[in-house]
Symmetry: D2
Subunit: 336 residues, 4 copies
């Protein structure tokens, strides 16, 4: 039984992670970390977990955590997360980091987009990006995995195979993404106050969202060329789900058939990715670790529609998938 | 043209009030008050009002307000509201108070339920309760009106005529109410954070909600007997609307027909109250100043279902109705 | 491996049942029945199940089903369901019936409320009611189980222990229930068309809902006295979840403490029922087989608030729980 | 007082139209048409209009309508609408047609996209397109106005001034639009059944939506060049609202400042269009006849975000605006 510690269990990714781990036959949660001195019972924080875990949040040192657990999941704000990761890695723990701290390739880019000096810059560029469908061999055996962002997951899974296959131009890619509100986290703020965002749809972070350089980097890495995308996120009045509509310029012999074929070949044998015949809905993949992708060519554009559950394949499900890989379990354990 | 000042324009009742006043041919909004020194433009606070008013929020003294306006609406927290009301009344302004400050009958009850000494206790019991369908004659000509609570409006309109007509017992009344989230106000808090209350229905304030003594008092006053109800509010995942399901013990010759007749007679000629043939939905009255009431007798109970829009008939619409009455305008001006 | 057939897989209870069975280590779904001649793939009916089952719907005879499966779940309309159940039972299959056909005690009551002669009246009154927390010993070893209605589950779990313990009067019980829209099934109708019921809350079936006699019968049976309740259902703008607020007259030494104690004792050791300290929300039990109950005494009433997921503990989760019991598996297999 | 007839009053555009006309001081609704022989009262069809109109739906001939009314609004399915329009125009009535029948320029394009021969092809290309902000002079004095589609309104208002000003290329324009569910009409169908589309976001009509040629035609017409756009609609879990995110290739001296300036100049003096500083939300314009547009240049694209209420500025509000123009009333009468 692998012993698991979770930093930042009180948010939505923490909640979903705990729900998944409750079904995991090889994992036992042994520590829930908080930086506060109160030690509320987990069921006070998440009434949804009543009866599932008899655990309290605790303020433990890295040494104490290392004694108590083999693997840690870190669901902390950026910068704070990297500090904890470095501490745990030096104590020989394995870590799946759900923050953005190890997703970018270099300290300068991190500094530019996160307005913060990276606390563990040496591991930037060395840490595998936790999208097993693209980087599985690097993840297996790693001590630290950078769990992908939710928007990037939806976009990269759809685009990477077509960039690799030379079916879309690397320039002029537009990613128009729509997310449920849980993506904004659990801290109450006016834009996410129910009567503000309910019955409303809005664009935000136009040209400035931090997932844009992450997508740039990973698509570039996955296709061995320099890719720069225009990414626009939108807030959708629903709890969970991301749909990305992607517009790219066709290249080579891109046809509706060839783009579908390229995607099907790329994901043949992948349990969590399906290429579908009709434009999908986020509900088709809600509460699952799956990604459904639709592809066509229309009016001079390759048009892709990709859906995931932002909290599962876009966060905690991917984290469990990475956990399974670094621990040597079947990759789909506890996932559907 | 009557000049109007609004205290607390940045919340939801303020927003709805401004939307209604934008259509009012006899009212001109001349001051929006804030206690902060910044003076944001109204359209920054409420983008919904872009183009409707060219006004900034201002931090003005009572003297300045009295020079600038004839009537004030106060949408402030309790206690704070009464202080402002007293100041304005002493300057000969008329006031419609949307807070709870003048709804109860005596200082002791106020102290008990609001945990605060009443700042203007002399006016308690003297101030008309702004439900024109029941207390119109008292409202006309008043300088101050206590605008009713949202839950009380839905319950009192349904129950008062039956209590008066001797068709229900004064004991054992159960009011099970369901409200949209705007009733909780505009301040972000965890229970009203979108992913917490969306797709969820909950009970709250069981046995402790401050609208309970308000209902007790007004039903007692309206029916000349001591009434004490059991009121349970619930939070519903929608922006606006209240539905109250009410269970009372039949008395006298209460039948499905006689209770309907009593209600129809009570509200004959009332423009904003209809007795309907089938159980209503909150959407039937959304964005209107109307109340729809369904009544029957089933399995030994008089069963009533009453719906209003909590922000209109339950707050700002009633406030405009009261404003019309105290200013001598047609009662339904600017209302539908 | 137990082979499972499902009648009526295309609705919401069918979908949830399949999701649960996908995680069941002892069950293999071998037949999905339809009365139509087309044989769509399951993933066309439920894109949510893409990749989970490679099955088509089929129009098979009872003999064919009996060859292919050991146990059947019937998610059919009433009357149609009993016909199928009788056919399968005569072929020695075990059946969990999710329809209402075997929930009532006698043919006359069935005829009165369902306006249909019962096709298999001999089994009425003989079939165990599938609420294991109350009737486990009768369910174990049964060939046929009447899976409970969703509203009744929420109400009966809260009330039965207090009626048994003599803490509430059997007269005057009011059950005010609120359900998500999935309870209305998957057939498109105007009241469940999105723009009709979204952002709206309504009462329906006042005094006429078929779950009322079911609650009467089961509470009477569970407490050895004649109980008749007043049950009012409401439609809530959310996918799933039921919250029942229950008002009963205290009896004997009913206090806030004694009612809580009676409930805790009744459900000590029950994995799926918790007595909670604060009024619960439906989201606390969404996607689980759990029921959370809050109890107090206020203003002369015992007040209970009970929440379940109507599709899980109120339908398919209970069905799997019953399946586990009649097949001899651990009762909580595949359930959380 | 202008007498008004409405064809197709039972849908959502009919409902909103009636709500607006209830506030119109110069209009009196005198006939509501249906093709069925039953004559339900309007409040049975729309409980929201209880007390507002005492009218029944009627099955009247064109002659009878022409006697009873001066102007008609037609909210009928395409093809059916043109037949009625021709009948009424020949009887010297004025008509605002809310269907798509007169929006395209020629019979062949209509036949191609609507799979139907046009019943009144002679008026194609002659009928003014009812977007007063662009075609006001043509609308004033017209007998027939083609009321614009909802998606086209949101896209055309944002793009037309920039195409005219030579700030965006006419090729490669991508319009990614998101609409609330009321846009799909009031006929119950599975995709709009509450539990199907609630908590879900989906793309549909990819490359095939009939609003695409409408946008092509009107943008070409408004900018005197041939424009062909790629338009992708999406279904959003909310009642009302459209947000279009538009990506176009900059041309000439397009900068963030110059595109904003061009838009501000184009709509200077327009009451219902505002250029805003931050990306807008659909809720900012809900229940109003307004359009808010945000514009910038980012990563090599002119990026526009445009929001309207699909039922008001996208349908019934625009219809009243056109009605006001053809009848000679103040253009904003009854509109906010």
């Amino acid at each position: 039984m692998t012993r698991v510690a979770i930093y930042g269990a009180s948010g939505y990714t923490g909640l979903e992670l705990l729900k998944l781990l409750a079904r995991h036959p090889e994992a036992r949660v042994t520590a829930l970390l908080t930086r506060q001195d109160e030690a509320p019972h987990l069921s006070e924080i998440h009434p949804q977990l009543t009866g599932a875990f008899d655990l309290r949040l605790e303020n433990l040192s890295a040494d104490e955590v290392a004694e108590r657990a083999d693997v840690a999941f870190t669901c902390l704000p950026h910068a704070a997360s990297a500090e904890v990761c470095a501490d745990l890695l030096s104590r020989d723990m394995k870590v799946v980091d759900l923050s953005a701290d190890y997703r970018l390739g270099d300290a300068a880019t991190y500094q530019k987009w996160y307005a913060h000096e990276h606390p563990d810059a040496g591991r930037l560029g060395e840490t595998p990006y936790g999208l097993p469908e693209l980087f599985r061999t690097q993840i297996i055996g790693a001590k630290l995995v950078a769990n992908p962002g939710c928007y990037p997951t939806s976009a990269i899974l759809a685009l990477a195979p077509l960039l690799r296959a030379g079916l879309v131009e690397r320039d002029g890619i537009v990613i128009d993404s729509k997310s449920g509100v849980s993506g904004a986290g659990r801290t109450p703020k006016l834009p996410f106050h129910y009567p503000e965002c309910n019955e409303s749809f809005s664009a935000y972070g136009v040209g400035t969202h931090r997932h844009m350089p992450e997508i740039d980097r990973v698509l570039s890495m996955a296709s061995d060329q320099s890719v720069e995308v225009l990414f626009t996120p939108h807030l959708t009045p629903m709890d969970r789900g991301i749909l990305s509509t992607i517009y790219a310029t066709p290249k080579g012999d891109a046809t509706p058939e060839s783009v579908v074929t390229a995607l099907k070949e790329a994901y043949a044998g992948e349990r969590f990715v399906s290429i579908v015949d009709t434009p999908p809905a986020t509900k088709h993949v809600a509460h699952t670790n799956r990604c459904h992708i639709y592809a066509t060519v229309v009016r001079g554009k390759v048009l892709l529609v990709s859906v995931i559950d932002n909290l599962i394949k876009g966060a905690s499900g991917a984290a469990v998938q990475n956990f399974n890989l670094i621990c040597g379990f079947d990759e789909s354990t506890a996932l559907i």
